[in-house]
């Protein structure tokens, strides 16, 4: 009887192996596994055996039954497409290629910055890209004869005001929104202003007439230089890692006093010196300072009562550093080969 069982098992497995379709399967099931099939027939003979033998052969018959049923359902599933195949598939074959879209890296970096400052309770503000001379310059303490107003730096719109002066321009910085924000919200004020800016200069790998900045302002009572320093430190740590250090030096911007440049430890070489930081170990990233009293006044805020800090980054530069992009023109190029990497 044991022999019979083993014989049946071998025969079944062999035929199962050759089974190609549901018809074959049905036939096998009927012949071997069904109530009137051969396995049932054999098991029906168990009752004629001695008690000892009955137990031994019964166990074997049960295990064979289980095995055959499992194998059967495995093959059945593979034929009916419900699960793993018994045919070894090349697991290294590629998946389907789905079409993909991509965001501009400026958007990626800008989102990152917006999230940092939103978490600190800053508003995210927007402003006009076509600005007036007043907001872009005068309100920011850039007097009429200042070199920053040179035609060579600013795109003016071909429209003259009552005094026969070009009065409209493409904003050269996001800073005009500082004053607009002060006028609208007053003090205290916490805001960042990301956006598109323009400078009238010929483009090459390092210069672009259309670029992106983000700047932040914090106006309150007793905002001081130690606060500014602290702020720049945490921003650097969030952008470039917890061990990032800040180094400040004087830099003139008309709308802040004192005015500073902030350098951060080069995140690529951790300050050891590399090609990107020109072997200095530092990356010049941020312009900053305490808001000039004239700017606060232009915004309708009393500088004797309130003070403020301001800082700004170039988003192009951040993106170039972060992703190792060598040519600033790529951002506005609409080149798929560029965008596809982000």
């Amino acid at each position: 009887m044991k022999n019979k069982l083993n014989q049946l098992r071998a025969e079944f497995l062999e035929r199962l192996d050759r089974a190609q379709n549901n018809e074959h399967l049905r036939e096998l099931e009927l012949k071997f596994l069904s109530r009137k099939g051969r396995l049932s027939e054999i098991m029906g003979g168990l009752k004629d055996l001695s008690l000892d033998l009955r137990q031994e052969v019964g166990e074997l018959a049960n295990s064979v039954k289980k095995e055959l049923q499992a194998k059967f359902s495995e093959v059945s599933q593979s034929i009916n497409g419900l699960g793993a195949s018994n045919i070894k598939v090349d697991a290294t074959l590629p998946g389907d290629k789905l079409a993909q879209g991509h965001l501009n890296p400026i958007t990626l970096v800008q989102n990152e910055i917006e999230d940092i400052f939103s978490s600190l309770g800053f508003m995210i503000l927007d402003g006009p890209e076509l600005e007036s001379d007043y907001y872009n310059f005068t309100a920011l303490n850039v007097p009429p004869a200042h070199p920053a107003r040179d035609m060579q730096d600013t795109f003016y719109v071909d429209y003259k005001n009552k005094d026969n002066q070009y009065d409209l321009l493409m904003r050269t910085q996001t800073s005009p929104v500082q004053v607009r924000a002060m006028q609208k919200y007053g003090a205290p004020l916490k805001a960042i202003i990301p956006g598109r800016c323009f400078r009238n200069e010929a483009t090459d790998a390092r210069h672009e007439h259309t670029f992106y900045q983000v700047e932040g302002i914090l106006v309150g009572k007793n905002i001081n230089f130690a606060n500014l320093k602290s702020f720049l430190e945490i921003v650097g740590q969030r952008l470039f890692g917890p061990n990032t250090k800040l180094r400040m030096r004087p830099k003139f911007f008309p709308f802040v006093e004192p005015g500073n440049n902030g350098e951060y430890t080069c995140f690529l070489c951790q300050g050891k010196g590399c090609r990107v930081c020109k072997n200095t170990g530092w990356l010049e990233i941020v312009g900053a300072g305490l808001i000039h009293p004239e700017v606060l006044r232009a915004g309708g805020i009393n500088p004797e009562e309130y003070s403020g800090l301001a800082f700004g980054f170039g988003l192009n530069r951040l993106a170039m550093l972060k992703y190792n992009i060598g040519d600033v023109r790529l951002f506005n190029s609409g080149d798929l080969k560029f965008l596809e990497q982000f």
Binding site: N104, Y135, N224, A226, N261, F331, G334
Partner: protein
């Protein structure tokens, strides 16, 4: 700007422990950015003194000579092209390995078949002047084999300072100014500037020889000093003078020109020397319209009435503060000078210099507002040095000083308590006092809590006027590193959310993740040619007054041209792709943002738009409609449907047959269309393109105003679906038919188009539209009878209204 360390040492005793690197670093930390540090010895590495032993003809070239040069350790074969080379000369030899200041790297080479183991150098190759007439022949005292740097005594170290970091510090465009900062940074004593020279000149014949100087425009020329000096001999400058100038990259010219330059780099005052024989008097005035002057660079300049000129009473002899005139120039025959040391208005100099495209060391200084007390100091400095350079010189006139300058002394009060609050920590009073005094401030009122600081004249032109300015001076010299950072303590407040920005992000994510579109950032500028190609009218566009080029001279009024160009840029890189952009467009009509504080005028209207473009093989118009509909559902809610209706004004770029206006919830948002064939051909596009442009601001308002979405319980009773196809005239619009069906009976819950057929199985001019109709009631299962009844009525209704017939399959 270049600063020589040896020059600084004229005014400072720098202890050995302060290395040049420290000076560069600390100047950067406290004052101005030092971009580089150059050891002059290094630039003459591998350049030595050699003696020419033999000069022979080159076998293969008439103009070349083959020489043998002794450089002590070796005799070198050198091919030389100079005609003045001769045996016995002492010459500078660049040996193999030298890298010359002009960029040339010396290697062993074959020149027309002859071996050459170095180069005998001309002046220009060594960066010592422009002379390339022949090789430089050295003086007899030169020692064979010694380094050329040693021969030149070029043992100087040069600091390269970033000019941009000096934009508000005209006082630093010279050695004394930098020396003052170094003295303040390292707390070193600074030698007084004008103690080192003689002010006791005998200005002879004050009455008889009074020089006539007239200033017709005192606001443009607040101060003008002049003096006539005779018995001058124009010659080469003495070695010390040439060395100083060469060290800071200035080309020596002759003793007088070099000396004016020297004084400028020494104390910051530009000066000019006229040939006194060529002019009788000085008159400063504005130029006449169209007046011309030939400047020293031998270019004729046409002037305008805003330009300031120095004249001899008749014609212009110098462009004030910028460049001298050719007609009054010093020449080798000059024997008497008329010396000018003046102060000019910064704005006037800047404008003229800019308009003429003529920037000089002089204009660079004047345009930053110079100290009006400086001309007097400088003229004495010049005369003292002139005596040294031309010992026979004789002063032949009175010192004329036409002085309209406002030498108002600004004083600023600094409250130390205020300073502490401004900085966030206490800076000891003695440090504050020491820093300010080192910088030249005179302190008054020594009461404990307050200091009164008189601003030195060289900082009072524009630079320092308020207590904030003083705070910066104290802070930067005290050191930013010494300030302990401290986060501000602020009241908590819920910031206003920028909903527009949030929506922008949401839209971008949908478009790039779900619709596989790429984000373009296109320029805000377009050009006439580009618009012409797309058949877009450009007359109404805002123009730039000073565009970089004709392709970017107008402000865009649509995102479409940029997006169409994006397709063109990439059409050979991919077959099936698309872009989106969210950006601003600009119109002449005023918007709602104020132009200035008065608020009577407004900025031009600047609308934010969302633009979409796709290209590929099939069904572009339909595909893009799907993108738009899907986007609107996502950002408004799932019950919303984009509506596409016939456009009244089809834009020039759009295809007449495939274009529609896009609306949602009854509000018009923009257009969607295929790019017209003409535009596509003009742009050389190789595949079809579909474009859509929506008003982002309007869309945003709709999103913000939309009431919160409410969940609707799914119906409990099953729907009955029927498929129906209607044959109608081609001109009948799907949307009209659909609306009629939807509105026909409340039990009709959805109408979905699944086929459009136009072909030979139908009469000409007709089309068949096939719909899945879904009937459903909330309170019962509909019976077939109920549905049939509605359907019969519907067919009758459509036949009545659209002459639609039910199609038999």
């Amino acid at each position: 700007m270049y600063i020589s360390l040896n020059w600084l040492k004229d005014y400072l005793k720098i202890p050995a422990k302060i290395k040049p690197e420290n000076i560069a670093e600390e100047l950067t930390r406290h004052t101005v950015e030092v971009e580089g540090l150059v050891n002059l010895t290094d630039q003459f590495n591998h350049v030595v003194v050699g003696r020419v032993l033999e000069v022979g003809k080159h076998p293969n070239a008439d103009r070349l000579r083959v020489t043998v040069v002794d450089v002590k350790d070796k005799k070198l074969n050198i091919v030389c092209g100079a005609s003045n080379v001769a045996a016995g000369q002492l010459v500078p030899v660049a040996r193999v390995g030298a890298s010359l200041p002009n960029g040339l790297e010396i290697k062993e080479s074959l020149i027309r078949g002859e071996k050459s183991e170095g180069m005998i150098c001309a002046e220009d190759e060594l960066g010592l002047g422009k002379n390339h007439e022949g090789i430089m022949v050295l003086k007899d005292k030169a020692k064979i084999g010694e380094s050329f740097a040693k021969y030149l005594k070029a043992d100087d170290i040069i600091l390269e300072i970033d000019n941009k970091s000096l934009s508000n510090r005209p006082d630093l465009l010279n050695h004394y100014g930098i020396a003052r900062e170094v003295s303040a940074i390292f707390n070193l004593p600074l030698k007084p500037y004008d103690k080192s020279f003689n002010r006791k000149y005998d200005f002879l014949g004050i009455k008889e020889n009074k020089l006539e100087v007239k200033v017709a425009a005192p606001e443009a020329c607040p101060r003008y000093l002049a003096v006539k000096v005779g018995q001058i001999e124009i010659k080469e400058s003495p070695a010390w003078l040439k060395e100083r100038l060469v060290a800071i990259n200035q080309r020596p010219i002759n003793n007088i020109v070099d000396l004016t330059n020297y004084v400028m780099f020494d104390c910051g005052q530009p000066m000019h020397a006229f040939d006194a024989a060529k002019i009788k008097k000085i008159a400063v005035r504005y130029a006449d319209k169209g007046e011309t002057i030939e400047t020293l660079d031998e270019k004729e300049r046409t002037l305008s009435p805003e330009d300031l000129v120095i004249t001899d009473g008749r014609e212009a002899i110098a462009l004030a503060g910028i460049m001298g005139g050719h007609n009054s120039e010093i020449s080798p025959e000059t024997t008497a000078l008329l010396l000018e040391s003046a102060n000019f208005n910064a704005g006037i100099i800047r404008k003229t210099s800019q308009r003429l495209g003529l920037r000089t060391e002089s204009s660079l200084r004047f345009e930053k507002s110079l100290d009006p007390s400086l001309p007097e100091i400088a003229i004495f400095r010049f005369l003292t040095l002139l005596k040294e350079v031309c010992p026979k010189m004789k002063i032949e006139s009175a010192l004329i000083d036409v002085n309209h300058a406002d030498l108002n002394q600004i004083s600023v009060e600094l409250d130390l308590e205020w300073l502490r609050n401004k900085i966030g920590q206490e800076i000891p009073r003695e440090d504050v006092v020491n820093i300010l005094e080192k910088l030249g401030f005179v302190l008054d009122g020594k009461s404990d809590g307050k200091l009164k600081a008189i601003v030195p004249s060289w900082r009072a032109t524009k630079d320092i006027a308020t207590k904030e300015d003083l705070a910066e001076e104290v802070l930067r010299l005290y050191g930013y590193d010494k300030i302990v950072s401290q986060m501000p303590v602020l009241e908590m407040a819920l910031p206003e959310v920028n909903k527009e920005r949030r929506l922008e992000r949401q839209i971008k994510n949908i478009l790039y993740l779900k619709n596989s579109l790429n984000e373009a950032y296109n320029y805000s500028f377009v050009g006439e040619e580009q618009l012409k190609k797309m058949n877009i009218d450009f007359f109404n566009h805002l123009k730039l007054a000073n565009p970089l080029s004709g392709i970017h001279n107008l402000l865009r009024q649509s995102l479409v041209p940029g997006l169409a160009s994006n397709i063109k840029t990439n059409q050979f890189k991919s077959d099936d792709f698309g872009f989106f952009e969210i950006g601003r467009v600009f119109f002449k009509a005023p918007g709602s943002l104020k132009r200035d504080k008065a608020g009577e005028e407004f900025l031009p209207y600047q609308e934010k738009r969302l633009g979409l473009v796709i290209t590929g093989e099939d069904d572009l118009f339909i595909r893009l409609k799907g993108v738009v509909d899907n986007l609107l559902k996502n950002i408004l809610d799932q019950t919303v449907e984009a509506e596409f209706a016939v456009l009244d004004n089809i834009p020039g770029w759009a295809d007449n047959n495939s274009s529609a206006k896009v609306s949602v919830l009854g509000q018009e948002l923009g257009v969607i269309a295929l790019l017209g064939n003409e535009a596509g051909e003009n742009m050389n596009l190789k595949r079809g393109v579909a474009l859509a442009e929506l008003n982002f601001n309007k869309l945003a308002e709709m999103v913000f105003d939309r009431p919160a979405f409410r969940f609707a319980e799914p119906p409990k009773y099953p729907p009955v679906t029927r498929d129906l196809a209607f044959v109608v005239e081609n001109k009948i619009l799907y949307n009209d038919l659909r609306k009629e069906i939807m509105d026909f009976n409340p039990l009709i819950r959805s109408v979905e188009l699944f086929d459009v057929y136009i072909g030979n199985k139908l009469e000409g001019g007709k089309k068949s539209l096939a719909f899945h109709l879904s009937y459903q009631a909330d309170d019962r299962t509909l019976t077939a009878g109920e549905v049939d009844k509605i359907q019969t009525d519907l067919v009758a209704d459509l036949s009545d209204k659209f002459k639609a017939t039910l199609r038999n399959f």
